[in-house]
């Protein structure tokens, strides 16, 4: 077999990465934990409940209906990043070889964009490993709770006319056109879109955020509220921002990923939630280590 420098290099690089991973594991075991990552500012939201239009597509008696609005409850304090993950934070994960470089060309204190659901998950896994805490993407319900008054559901054409399915498509199209939102592709510095009533920054600006909620087709029961059956498609997740929409996991540029007519996401980014009693956190604490304290504030 002829010598193939590219192939050989590739293999070596992959081996090196695996090697690094093992080294990290060893470090941790020997308590030489890598330098802690500066954790972004968190907002802690008290428990509460709110009315929430469900994500996904809903059918009732064989025709499409508007998403049912359900009373949702957040029963434990929710710790969520005040800002979207920044280019520099994401860059640390890239430097560690745990994240793929983002497609955005911005630098510094700007939300990272040009990232897929897969990238966001990789970052959460990396951050959890680096901090010993449990970081993950918010669910659609958690995101909506934190977005508060800035939450907007799907652009929904309402209940379809069983005799004329086109009526719903036309309503939806006109609604979307009437929103008159102009494309706004250039990400801005963190905080540029202001703070909502819950203390989170940049909700529903020009960066849509990935969630951990899968796209689903659901059939509504006869009471008009309860879901009788549903099929999840976890190759597609809900993304939230100016409106809620659904994107395939591998999409990094919302413009090319959606089939939306007038308002595809300008950019795709994310923020994470921290589970209070994560496995890593407990472990690290039990080892008597302290991590960088995140500045936290409790609202309500």
């Amino acid at each position: 077999m002829p010598f193939d420098p590219v192939f050989t290099f590739g293999t070596t690089a992959a081996a090196a990465l695996i090697g690094l991973g093992i080294t990290h594991a060893l470090d941790r075991a020997s308590l030489e934990f890598p330098p802690p990552v500066a954790v972004s500012e968190l907002v802690v939201l008290g428990p509460g409940s709110f009315e929430h239009p469900q994500p996904g597509e809903f059918l009732k008696q064989n025709h499409t209906v508007a998403a049912p609005v359900v009373q949702e409850t957040i029963d434990a304090p929710l710790e969520i990043m005040k800002y979207q993950v920044s280019v520099s934070d994401y860059g640390l994960c890239v430097a560690d070889g745990a994240c793929k470089p983002a497609d955005s060309r911005k630098i510094g204190n700007v939300p990272v964009t040009g990232v897929s659901h897969i990238d966001a998950e990789a970052y959460a896994t990396w951050l959890s490993a680096r901090t010993g805490e449990a970081w993950r993407l918010p669910t659609d319900v958690e995101w909506a709770y934190a977005a508060g008054e800035r939450f907007k559901g799907d652009i929904d054409g309402g209940e379809s006319d069983p005799n004329n399915p086109a009526r719903r498509w036309l309503t939806q199209y006109r609604q979307e056109a009437a929103l008159g939102r102009k494309p706004d592709p250039e990400p801005r510095a963190q905080g540029a879109f202001g703070t909502n009533s819950k203390g989170l920054s940049d909700i529903a600006g020009n960066v849509w955020e990935w969630t951990s909620t899968c796209y689903s087709h659901a059939t509504i029961g006869s009471d008009g509220k309860r879901t009788a059956s549903s099929i999840d498609n976890c190759g597609v997740h809900a993304v939230e921002g100016f409106h809620r929409t659904y994107m395939s996991n591998f999409i990094r540029d919302g413009k090319s990923g959606g089939c939306a007519v007038g308002t595809p996401p300008d950019n795709l980014g994310f923020r994470l939630v921290r589970d209070r009693t994560g496995f890593f956190q407990t472990t690290i604490r039990s080892l008597g280590l302290t991590l960088t304290a995140a500045e936290s504030r409790v609202h309500e």
Binding site: L59, L170, A177, P185
Partner: protein, 367 residues
């Protein structure tokens, strides 16, 4: 030493001189034409078309049009990419002019002083003088009037052709439009039976070649002349950065989507002055299609996709049978979705279950 502007003008004038040599007189009897009735038409920006009769009333006439050339920056996509556009009458494409066979088109072409380049117009519908290009070259601060006889029926492209390397550059900067010459007794189907349209839409498709910087971002230039060298390099690669309808990705969607009702018949005139394209109406058809655009040939029937040769305009007649949102695309779907060549029709009306219905909505697969 020549400035860039002088250099550009220089190459243009040489070409014009060459053109003048082959120019032929176009008017057989000036007196006869002078005695014809005259009609002044105000052009409207595409996709709309000025009011016109589908069947001619009375005999031939001279139809007067005026177009002012505007060089101006235009935004061609949602990212705000800027084209140093050159336009007929301020729009890309230039307006559609409609006359009947044996009428005369009399165009006054104005190149205001505020422009920086020389321009002209080559009508594919016209006979002689490089389609009129040899008789219409105007420098900034000049105007010219050309008359030509509409001898052949059909849809025809017009474009700027100021000589040499200037020709493709002016065309891919936006300088093209179309003329429609109707048979005096109107359009006919493949069996010679008259057909009419309730609405007409003119779609001009353009391929743009915008240079990128080292980071891959589209570059912005102060003036058209500044982009020339970089743009020609991209043009020579023959891969457009944008393929759009009516000057901009998304120019015919949302609030600007074209409108119709079930039962209405539309005529879509589609021009591409530079590059082949293949229009397709998603969810609809071409009932009668003049693919080459020339009404002396019977229209093709029931087409799914039709072919518009670069440098021509074709037309398709269709009666909507079902309400909804229709996408009208260049069915190279990469060009439609990634490069911009998508328009929408918003069609109201009653749904026909016989033509289509969802027998059963999506549900778990029966075990």
């Amino acid at each position: 030493m020549l400035t860039r502007r002088e250099a550009l003008l220089g190459s243009v004038l040489t070409a014009a001189a060459a053109a003048a040599v082959v120019a032929m007189p176009v008017v057989a009897s000036a007196a006869e034409v002078a005695s014809l009735p005259r009609e002044k038409v105000t052009l409207v920006a595409p996709p709309f078309v000025h009011a016109h009769d589908q069947v001619a009333k009375g005999g031939p006439k001279v139809v007067e049009f005026t177009m002012t050339i505007e060089e101006k920056p235009m935004i061609i996509d949602a990212d705000g990419t800027q084209l140093n556009a050159m336009t007929y009458n301020g729009s890309i494409p230039g307006p559609l002019m409609v006359v009947h066979q044996d009428d005369y088109i009399e165009l006054t072409l104005i190149n205001p002083e505020t422009n920086t380049l020389a321009h002209n117009i080559d009508f594919h519908a016209a006979t002689g003088a490089l389609g009129g290009g040899g008789l219409t070259l105007v420098n900034p601060g000049e105007q010219v009037t050309l008359r030509f006889k509409a001898t052949r029926t059909g849809t025809f492209v017009y474009h700027c052709a100021p000589g040499g390397a200037m020709i493709p550059w002016h065309v891919v900067s936006g300088m093209s439009g179309a003329v429609m010459i109707l048979p005096r007794d109107g359009l006919k189907d493949d069996k010679g039976k008259p057909v009419r349209y309730d609405r007409i839409f003119y779609i001009g498709e353009n391929d743009f070649y915008v240079p990128r910087d080292e980071q891959g971002k589209f570059k912005k230039y102060e003036t058209a002349g500044d982009n020339y060298d970089d743009t020609v390099k991209v043009m020579r690669g023959l891969i457009p950065t944008h393929v759009v309808f009516n000057g901009k990705a998304g120019s015919l969607t949302g609030d600007n989507a074209m409108r119709a009702k079930v039962g209405e018949t539309i005529l879509i005139v589609h021009s591409q002055a530079n590059r082949d394209t293949r229009p397709h109406l998603i969810g609809g058809h071409g009932d009668f299609v003049w693919e080459q655009g020339k009404f002396a040939n019977p229209p093709a029937k029931d087409l799914e996709t039709w072919f518009i040769r670069g440098g021509s305009a074709g037309s398709a007649l269709y009666t909507f049978r079902q309400p909804g949102i229709y996408a009208y695309v260049n069915h190279n779907l990469i060009e439609a979705v990634e490069l911009g060549a998508t328009a929408h029709f918003v069609v109201d009306g009653t749904w026909d279950d016989d033509l289509m219905m969802q027998v059963e909505a999506p549900k778990p697969i029966a075990s």
